[in-house]
Symmetry: D3
Subunit: 289 residues, 6 copies
């Protein structure tokens, strides 16, 4: 391209972003970052840029993060075996301590400092801060005791709203106040519940697959757009992969709570979030009411 | 480019805009649109997009427009000959009436409706509204009576600030309240004075040349960066073209009034404003203190 | 009168104004100024004083003006014949350009500068600014194409409210954003629609007759008080003069929209507005729900 | 006068008031009402109208009242003789109780209810409320013990400002918090000190003479305008009547504290306050810096 | 106690107050002080401390006071006999003047200065200030003319709310604006009506008995908790003492108006108010809905 | 004690607290909790009550905590030896990870949940959130490399102020953003720097000794009051114990930064904080300017 063509190409991209900026200004978007997304410094840096850009054009991003691989890793180092029942980590007291140390002491602050480096001010909190997430004890699918594993009982969004109105990007670790101490909450589920309580306009799940497939083995079967009702049917039919279930359930539930859009994106693609929010690029799977 | 490459290219442009958005958020930028810029619907549409994008990412654009060619045109239709002395239109009472009708009745509203069509709310005002511009009578360089041609005496920016804080893009026609009725003010000069009074962070002159040349005949001599002091010297040396003089004088004066940056851009290049504000593209001439 | 008697007479007038000031404080009053009112500098000056006094005692006046005679005049000068169908000006593209130039470039700014001279800050806008008035195409009574003549479709009062809360007197020219460019709106109708959208407490039509007559030929038959229902009947009966129809229709419609009072006053009487608003003088015709 | 002439005369008076309204809008005016003014229901009603009109056009009136005759009267009824030393009431404990009962229990509330009847909301307070006036013990001119007679030590204007910003007219009785209980303060002096502390723009003393005379016996020698310096000289020269001394001293002191204007008016003239504030009538004596 | 034990005891009391402070923060509590409470400087000082403490921990106390004994006393001194019909003071014009002088000139200011001495800012007002209490004429139980004795017709709480939001403790004397001048209102009734109009959370009647007794002669029959319905029954049964009737009627009426709690406390017990509001001590009689 | 005596004793304690509440309302108090204080659930619960009480009476408490013993404990469990040089923990990258996990993942949230249980809303943050604490690398006293041990370079208090104005109690872990990742900051030093940046009115160090002793071996030599200058001398003289040095240095530095008072209290005494803030009990050591 000549210099003029290049300039024009740049202008075209920026002009393309205008209607998206117009649409999303002043709205809240919840972004769930999976533990996988957090392992690559480059990816996390690109994500932080995307979140910063959202903040600067007037969107209120709220980050909720997981940390599964990092928790298992830490348990390994401490000679403790991770046990899963139906996809949920059995969480005894000691495990819960490790969960908190990894989520709050490692991952949360890593996201915060990466965002701060982009010139936005991020503030990391746990679901216990300001009673953001209250949990009740969850049981396994056949009634197993999973320990300190919780279901969301109530969201008190005041602390998140306070941080937003003080112009911070809240970064939330999915630890909740439970009946007898801290509880571990699935990060997808926490993100969906927070999106509902904040009356967010969008929730984005960044994961390690390109989106939802009609037929898991067939790359061409990626579903680019679907509805909460169709997803509820897939959930009921039991045809989803174990990792996809909480995302889909959380997307369905957030839409039921009034969040107009949910997205499942490949967090391993650099700037996937940016492209989804600001361009015509149709990537991943979009869910609407 | 493959689809992935295209997506990445888009992302790159958006990421490149981040530091510019960060820098300019909340700041006021005055944009002088010359009469030439306003004759082509496509160009005006592109300009409106640029201004809208600025507004949406948190910048406060203020448009000041001229209308020289359109005024001469209307005078011709009315069988009245345009007379210029030292680059300034001799403005008798009848001419002043035509000036107001063209600037306020045609051009101002054309810019307003084009901006409104981009989803921002624009509001057209004259320098007489809210006593925005008060003028004293100007004389020609050798003391000729130019009629209702004025020099800026005082700027009362309350109406512009009021519109900004009600979230409108002010569009200002350079007509002033003078000692004995309405006065005609050079639009470049009005833009500079308004930029100073608003404590704007930048003033952009959109004109019909690529920028300021060291040697007018030599395209390669475009000055991409200079200072107010160097320009003041050029003005004193009398080496500038007649059309460039008020722009340069106004740029120098705005910088003296505390506006940190002035730009002279080619308004005939689509999205020149956008590229200047949001990308690394070095176009036109930048003036700093 | 002796000096003491004079002083007492003055005091009496001021004291008489107190209950009116008390009643109208903080309320919005829309004032329609007809083109006729605007031709005499003295009258316009007196009107400006009245509007300024309203503003200073805490009323929010909003001026809407016409300009019929001035438009016809300008068309004559340009060798263009004014054509009316059923009292409405057939408005081709060229005529619309003249309408805008006269309304915005002449009349609007004349009112603004006359008000500014009284020490209030006035701001002139068109119905296109901030999308204040959106129009659809109007047809003549038997379906004739009237060109760019519009009916009010929607009022977006944000810009007027913004100016009021920044302490300006808005002065509105009845030009609207239509489906294919600017549209000409009857000023009486525009004033009524704006009064309704602003939830004004009163609309005053300043015209060139002393009020509404029961019997047009009989000066003694002036109706000093009537209701919207009675007026609606007069409209249906087809007994009103052509010039009175839009005023009466607009008064009826504003009252239907919740404006409690409409007045038809003789704008040729100096300070008619002042006397109506602040004294016990019963002048013109008052319409209530 | 014909009806038209009458209407015009009314309009003229209102128009004459415009520049005064413009000048005084938003400003604070302290009005000292002498005990004499308060004895005639008609006069008090007219005064209340004047104060109400001031409030409605955006002025902030603050009333400070005396009550000398009424206190002496009450003492008489209780068989207690009023004793004066150098114009100051010797105030033993019992007298102080009577002072409070008369000022707060009679006069203050009479002014409040008269103002309320005009449609403004008045609120009566004592100088002890919110520690508005703190007094130290005053001595007579040759050191006599005057009992609970005080000099102003400090004004805490918060309560008056709070009432003003809640849109009430404060009505202040000149009782102060002293070192050992309530103290009696000269109302002229209290008014002047409050005007200074409020940064009032004007203080008006309503009294029972037409103003200050150069030569007390000669009606033609009324001083219509003078300065604080000239008054200070008169005070020093000891040529003022006993009743005028505290007014003049207080006017001088308020002007020293930055109040631009003081007026001495004849409170027995109906609407004297109104005429002074809103018309060209030159009445009483005006003092400036 | 050892020094450590003492410290611990202190800490325990403070800790005990925490839940009460938490519950009452930001809420309005109306306190009726009977004339008896006001006769002992020590008691009044302790009460002022209690009110100040309430204010400082974020409660908005509003004091309403009576003055029966003091009024009768003043009447006696003036040689005027107090006449009561059915517990209500027959109030001729002269008596009404004495009522105002005593309530406003003595008692109200005494409470204000005692509160000011505790470091809160109190402001004394009458029910006539800002039209706080409007009364209609009351008749005796068998239709006797009681003179200027009123029933509450309307409460305009703006002045009280204004004082609260300016951080003052309002102290209200039960004098009302009536149809033909000032009216005397029972202080218990005034307090109840004000509590209802302010949407207070609690009203406390400080009186000269320990509370309400089931059997007046039996100290052991103190009712520590009851409901408005039960009290309404007692009222209907006519078994209450004359002094208790207005308190009970007012408590019942305030609760009907939405005030959740009423208390009847012995004002002669030092710090009874403090103990009721901030500790577990069950004193007096509590009434709930 | 009889019931009456008990009640009176309670009242006395509450009344004693009034002047303290009055003095401290609206002021910020920074509380440094040492790691030792945090090991006993009962003590922590009592501390949380004290902090809650402060919050409820209008004080803004800000908690800064350490965690030395807990970090050493965790390191032990992970088979890593804690190394100290001159009282400072040598912090390699792995240690820093443990520091963050313990401080943020364990201790910070434990304080937050204990406070939340008292009915205040607490929010736990790290010094990296919102760039609260920026650190530069610290060296040992003889230039040893201590790894990720930092000195405070800059405090950005926006996040703490934002939480305070949203009515949360901020709980800060002393981790900072350093030149190459997270840095470990001495909690005493962090607390002092934050107190200075917040313009706090008081800083309280809760520690495991009764205060500062003139002669460490002599219990009777407790210094109950001293000045920053005297402490600076003690620091220079090198006579302080290693654990006391950072407290004293931090107290001196906070006072230099304008904090009027610093306290060193025995955190092992239940409700020591409460007694210090709200009673006349003189406990611990108070430092003033």
């Amino acid at each position: 391209m000549t210099r003029i063509e290049e300039a024009l190409a740049k202008a075209t991209v920026l002009v393309e972003s205008l209607p998206y900026i117009r649409t999303w200004a002043g709205k809240t978007v919840v972004i769930k970052m999976g533990g996988e997304t957090l392992e690559d410094d480059d990816l996390l840096g690109a994500l932080a840029t995307d979140v910063a850009l959202m903040k600067f054009v007037g969107i209120n991003p709220v980050v909720v993060h997981g940390g599964g691989p990092q928790i298992s890793d830490a348990m390994g180092k401490l000679g403790k075996k991770a046990v899963f029942v139906g996809g949920q980590r059995v969480t005894d007291h000691e495990t819960m301590e490790i969960v908190k140390m990894v989520l709050l002491g490692q991952i949360n602050k890593r996201i915060v400092t990466t965002l701060n480096a982009q010139g936005v001010l991020a503030a990391g909190i746990s679901g216990e801060d300001g009673n953001l997430i209250t949990a009740r004890k969850a049981l396994g699918s056949v009634g197993e005791d999973l320990g300190f594993v919780g279901e969301v009982e109530k969201i008190e969004p005041a602390i998140v709203n306070g941080l937003i109105s003080s112009d911070f990007v809240p970064v939330v670790a999915p630890v909740a106040t439970g009946p007898d101490g801290s509880y571990n909450i699935n990060a997808d589920v926490a993100a969906g519940a927070i999106a509902g309580a904040l009356a967010a306009q969008k929730i984005v799940f960044l994961t390690n697959v390109p989106g939802l497939y009609r037929d898991l083995g067939d790359e061409g079967s990626l579903i680019s757009e679907t509805t909460a009702d169709q997803l509820a049917k897939l959930l009921a039919d039991g045809v989803l992969s174990e990792g996809m279930i909480p995302k889909i359930a959380s997307a369905v539930s957030a839409i039921k709570d009034g969040v107009p859009q949910a997205h499942i994106l490949d967090g391993r693609v650099k700037h996937a979030l940016l492209l989804e929010v600001f361009t015509d690029e149709g990537i991943g799977t979009m869910v609407t009411a």
